[in-house]
C-alpha cells in the first residue's frame, strides 16, 4: 500500500537507520506474502485436481502428467447426469 522501499537519499545517519529498517520490513512483508501464496496454492491443489478430473474425458483421467484443463469437450459427458432435463431431451 503506502509502504515504500528505503528513502533514496539518507543524509542523517539516524534517518538512514530508519530507512534500512523500513526496507527490511518491506522485504519481510513480501516474503510473508510469497510463503503464504505458495502454501495456500499447495493446500488448494487437491481441490483443483478434483475439479479438473471431474471435467476430464474418461481417458484423460489416467494421463500423466495430469491434464489440468479439459482438452476435449468430453467433460460435458461426465457432467450430463447432473442435468436431467437436457439428457431427457437428447435421448
Amino acid at each position: 500500500m503506502t509502504r515504500r522501499p528505503a528513502d533514496p537519499t539518507p543524509s542523517v545517519p539516524v534517518r538512514g537507520r530508519h530507512a534500512a529498517r523500513r526496507a527490511r520490513r518491506w522485504i519481510a512483508d513480501r516474503a510473508v506474502y510469497g510463503v503464504l501464496a505458495v502454501s495456500a496454492a499447495a493446500m488448494l491443489l487437491p481441490f483443483f485436481w478434483m475439479l479438473s478430473t471431474s471435467l476430464d474425458a474418461p481417458a484423460d483421467v489416467f494421463r500423466t502428467p495430469p491434464v489440468w484443463l479439459p482438452r476435449t469437450r468430453a467433460g460435458r459427458t461426465t457432467w450430463r447426469p447432473c442435468a436431467p432435463r437436457r439428457s431427457a431431451a437428447s435421448s
Partner: protein, 299 residues
C-alpha cells in the same frame, strides 16, 4: 389451595423444562456408554439371544492380543506424527496471518477449506493423489528427478501417507484456533517486548508463544482425541493394509464389532481407547499446568 399448587409448580417447573434435553442425552449418550461397558463383560455375536457373561476375560484377551498391540503402535505413531505436524504448521500460518494483510481472508479460506470438506470425499481424492502410477505425488517426485514411492501400497510409507493427508486436513482448524488466541493477546505486550529491544522472532518465542499456551493446550488435546480415534481415512484409503501396516485401534474395533461380530471384545477395546485418551489428556494438562496459569496471570 391455589398458593400451594403454584408453589409446587415453581419447584417442579425447572425439571420439566430440562426433561426433554435430559431424556435425549440419557437415551442416546449416557445409556449407550453404560451399555457398552456391560457389553464388554459379555461374549456376544449379535445373534445369540442370551450372551455369555465372561467377566474381564475380554480385557485379559486384549492385553495378550498381538494384533491389538500392533494397532496401538500404529495409532500412537499416527498421533505422534499428525498432532505436532498440523499444530506446528497451523501455528506457523497463524503467526504469518496475524498482521494486517489485505488478503488475509483469502489465505484463511484456503487453509481452512480442507477442514470443512468431507473426510470421505477427501480420502477418495487423496487415494488418487497417492496412486503409484498416475498419482499427483509420484508425478511430482518424478518431475523433481526423485524415485517414485508406493505410498499407500507400500507398508513402509502407508502410515506416513495417512499422516500427511490428515495434517493437510487438520492444520486449518489449528490455524483458526491459534489465530483467535494470538488476537486475544493484548498488543501492548508485543510492543513492550519491541521497546525492550526484542527482535520479532524473540518476541514471538519468548512472549507470544508462552501467552498462547492455553490455546496450545486446547489444540493439542482436541487433535490428540481426534487422532487416536482415526477411522475414516484408514477405512477408505487403506482398509488397514497393506499387510496391516495401517491397522489402528478404532479400525480394529470396527472389524471386531461388525465383521467378526465380537461385540463384547469390541466394547472392551472401546473402553481401552477411552482409558488411553483419559491418560493422554491428563498428562497434557499436567504438562501445561504451569505455562497455562502463567499465561492467565499475565493477561
Amino acid at each position: 389451595m391455589v398458593v400451594a399448587r403454584s408453589w409446587t409448580w415453581a419447584r417442579l417447573a425447572p425439571y420439566a423444562y430440562v426433561l426433554p434435553a435430559t431424556a435425549i442425552v440419557v437415551m442416546f449418550v449416557m445409556f449407550p456408554i453404560a451399555y457398552s461397558f456391560y457389553l464388554s463383560l459379555l461374549s456376544w455375536d449379535f445373534i445369540r439371544p442370551v450372551p455369555a457373561y465372561v467377566g474381564l476375560e475380554n480385557y485379559r484377551r486384549l492385553l495378550a492380543d498381538p494384533d491389538i498391540r500392533r494397532a496401538l503402535e500404529h495409532t500412537l505413531a499416527y498421533t505422534a506424527g499428525t498432532v505436532p505436524l498440523s499444530a506446528a504448521l497451523g501455528l506457523a500460518v497463524a503467526a504469518l496471518l496475524n498482521r494486517p494483510l489485505r488478503t488475509r481472508g483469502l489465505f484463511r479460506t484456503a487453509f481452512f477449506a480442507p477442514t470443512v470438506t468431507s473426510t470421505v470425499a477427501m480420502s477418495v481424492v487423496w487415494a488418487w493423489i497417492y496412486h503409484p502410477q498416475v498419482g499427483l505425488m509420484n508425478t511430482l517426485l518424478r518431475a523433481l528427478g526423485l524415485p517414485a514411492l508406493g505410498w499407500l501400497s507400500d507398508p513402509r510409507t502407508a502410515l506416513l501417507a495417512l499422516v500427511v493427508m490428515s495434517a493437510w486436513k487438520g492444520l486449518g482448524y489449528d490455524m483458526v484456533l491459534f489465530l483467535a488466541g494470538l488476537q486475544g493477546i493484548p498488543p501492548e505486550l508485543e510492543d513492550a517486548a519491541a521497546i525492550d529491544g526484542a527482535t520479532r522472532a524473540q518476541a514471538f518465542w519468548r512472549v507470544m508463544l508462552p501467552l498462547l499456551s492455553p490455546t496450545t493446550l486446547f489444540v493439542l488435546i482436541i487433535s490428540t482425541v481426534d487422532a487416536i480415534q482415526v477411522f475414516t481415512q484408514v477405512s477408505l484409503m487403506t482398509d488397514g493394509g497393506p499387510a496391516g501396516a495401517t491397522d489402528v485401534l478404532v479400525y480394529s474395533l470396527w472389524r471386531h464389532a461388525f465383521q467378526t461380530f465380537e461385540m463384547g471384545y469390541a466394547s472392551a477395546l472401546a473402553w481401552v481407547v477411552f482409558l488411553i485418551l483419559l491418560v493422554l489428556t491428563a498428562a497434557q494438562m499436567r504438562f501445561f499446568k504451569d505455562a497455562v496459569s502463567g499465561a492467565e496471570a499475565a493477561r
